[in-house]
């Protein structure tokens, strides 16, 4: 034991180190992921299964409905790929909600709360970890998409923009999921709460064009956040006009990120009542 003194510590000792603490927490989360890779595998596996399902099972018919020149499946792969890419992000953030909820049931969070650390680092560690997980997932899913016939038109610049855009979307949705994970009373709830995120691409322009839907659904589909996000992705990857979708998508992302962050922070600082 070193010598102990009760003299008030110099203010320098009381300075917070949010970056350093976040890096520490990120290392902790990466270790969790490496040691228990099954979660990552499931989260990446789901969009791949959906991709194969939609390309090989529904693809022929749905592609014909799109009225492509070369017909069927080949056209549909290009149409559905952006939705599957987005689905990779929503699957990842579902994982974020689960791991946050799991963490909150662990006593170690109580320990973190009684320590002199930058509190937000507990959450930013998860956010950064999920971002890394998303990058890995996206790389794999896009790889599989290319293998099954996805032929994007994007040049190098457009790919870079796509990558940046995907990171913005992921960042926003992850913060939202951090809040969902905290608001869940149990891990089960945490895995169910983000389900709407997984479903939203279906109720938008993800899998079929919105004009084929009944009026009420079409209106919802056109105004929900995932439609401009998917349209922006589609525009970037397939070299199509994006129009208003880009700034609409970015505005949604900023709103979701900000809302998710503020909500998360509030939830984390609420009175600890376990």
């Amino acid at each position: 034991m070193s010598s102990h003194t009760l003299a008030a510590p110099a203010p320098a000792n009381l300075r917070f180190h949010p970056l350093r603490d976040s890096a520490t927490m990120l290392r902790r989360n990466l270790k969790h992921m490496l040691r228990y890779p099954s979660m990552t595998v499931i989260l990446v596996g789901m969009p791949i299964v959906f991709l194969l399902l939609f390309v090989y099972v529904f693809g022929g018919t749905l592609g014909a409905g799109l009225g492509g020149v070369s017909g069927g499946r080949a056209v549909y792969v290009n149409y559905v790929a952006p939705a599957i890419i987005l689905m990779t992000v929503t699957a990842t953030v579902q994982g974020t909600a689960i791991s946050i909820a799991t963490d909150m049931t662990e006593g170690i969070i109580a320990r973190f709360r009684t320590m002199h650390i930058a509190r937000v680092s507990v959450l930013t560690g998860h956010v950064l970890g999920s971002m890394i997980q998303a990058v890995i997932g996206l790389t794999m899913v896009i790889g599989v998409a290319l293998l099954v016939g996805f032929r994007p038109e994007a040049g190098f610049g457009a790919w870079l923009t796509t990558a940046g855009f995907l990171m913005v979307v992921t960042f926003a949705l992850v913060w939202f999921a951090v809040a969902l994970g905290q608001v869940s009373k149990s891990v089960e709830t945490a895995s169910n709460l983000p389900m709407p995120l997984v479903l939203l691409p279906f109720l938008g322009s993800g899998f079929v064009p919105t004009d084929s839907m009944p009026t009420a659904l079409r209106l919802f589909a056109e105004y929900q956040p995932f439609t401009p996000i998917i349209e922006t992705l589609r525009g970037l990857l397939m070299d199509k006009p994006i129009g208003d979708n880009a700034w609409l998508a970015l505005t949604w992302c900023v709103a979701i990120a900000l809302g998710g962050y503020l909500w998360s922070k509030r939830l984390f600082n609420r009175e600890y009542a376990r």
Binding site: L6, T24, R27, K31, H116, E271, A273, R274
Partner: protein, 319 residues
């Protein structure tokens, strides 16, 4: 309370906390001097854990003032957090990491340089007898190992005040003794320990001072001996070599209860030096040979039950 010039490690006045209509703490005052072990003794639901949660900044109090390690709890919780260590009732370890990773995580969060962090982790693994298990995930640890790791993690930052919330609940007797030894060593190193327990024996064994908490109120505070002395029922047991001496002693001492088979007498006594001296003098004056003399003070069980006014206090565990 001998050293008045040093400020206390913990000073609490009028601490109150309720959840809705349910009053958990109803005006608690306590003072813990630096470098001592203070036990908060109480049954389940007495408010022990709530007290620890408030003092360790986990939850806020509804009313009252508290200073921990010289810092105001409400005004400067960050300074309090920098000075304390907490080992709660529920193990605060990362089950997915190994023991040594858990310790290094703490070292990183305390911003120890890498080398020093490693050294400190190794040192603590050694001290807490966890070297062999260091590389295994904590999920494979036994209850005792987990508790030791938990405390080791608390010590990484060299806190000056340590809160131990029921540190031995659920441990087997051997792990319990080893935890006691660890606590004694810590105090020998100058740390202040605030521990809660529902085991009377534990408070008796470890503490410099004990406070008895019952339904959110402190019903008694003092050293273990002071508390025991407050309770009538202490006695001196005298054993004699033969029945005749026993008979003489009965005449000499008057109001006693006798046990003819064991040739023994129970003389009511508060166990103080003065009363013992009076007793011995009286026996001496009449030249009564006593084979064996033993002083029986009531144990903390009696104290606890008497103080909380509930002789069938089922919630108290006595082991």
């Amino acid at each position: 309370m001998t050293t008045k010039q040093v400020q206390p490690a913990i000073a609490v006045t009028g601490l109150r906390k309720s959840y809705g209509d349910h009053v958990v703490l109803d005006g608690v005052d306590l003072t813990v001097q630096q470098g001592t072990i203070f036990s908060l003794l109480g049954a389940n639901g007495a408010g022990k854990t709530t007290t620890v949660k408030i003092l360790s900044t986990l939850i806020g109090a509804d009313a009252g003032d508290a200073r921990v390690a010289g810092h105001d709890l409400a005004g400067n919780p960050d300074a309090v957090r920098a000075a304390i260590g907490v080992t709660g009732q529920f193990s605060a370890v990362d089950n997915l990491l190994t023991g040594s990773e858990n310790l290094r995580l703490m070292a990183d969060l305390h911003h120890l340089p890498r080398g020093e962090g490693r050294r400190r982790a190794a040192e603590l693994l050694e001290q807490f007898d966890l070297v062999e298990a260091a590389g295994k995930p904590v999920s494979t640890y036994s209850g005792g190992m987990r508790r030791r790791l938990d405390l080791a993690m608390t010590l990484v930052g060299s806190p000056s005040v340590i809160f131990l919330d029921e540190p031995t609940t659920g441990l087997d007797p051997r792990s319990r003794r080893s935890m006691w030894q660890i606590v004694r060593d810590l105090v020998a190193g100058g740390v202040t320990i605030f521990l809660t327990t529902q085991y009377l024996e534990e408070a008796d064994e470890l503490s410099d001072r004990i406070a008895v908490l019952d339904q959110g109120r402190l019903v008694a505070e003092g050293t273990s001996d002071e508390l025991k002395r407050r309770i009538p029922g202490g006695h001196v047991r005298l054993r004699f070599a033969d029945p005749r001496v026993l008979e003489t002693a009965v005449h000499a001492l008057g109001e006693v209860s006798r046990d003819n088979d064991a040739l023994a007498l129970r003389v009511p006594s508060d166990g103080s030096m003065r009363s013992l001296k009076t007793l011995i003098d009286r026996l001496d004056d009449r030249a009564i040979e006593v084979d064996e003399l033993s002083v029986h003070t009531p144990d903390l069980d009696d104290v606890f039950l008497a103080l909380t006014g509930n002789p069938t206090h089922e919630k108290v565990t006595t082991r």
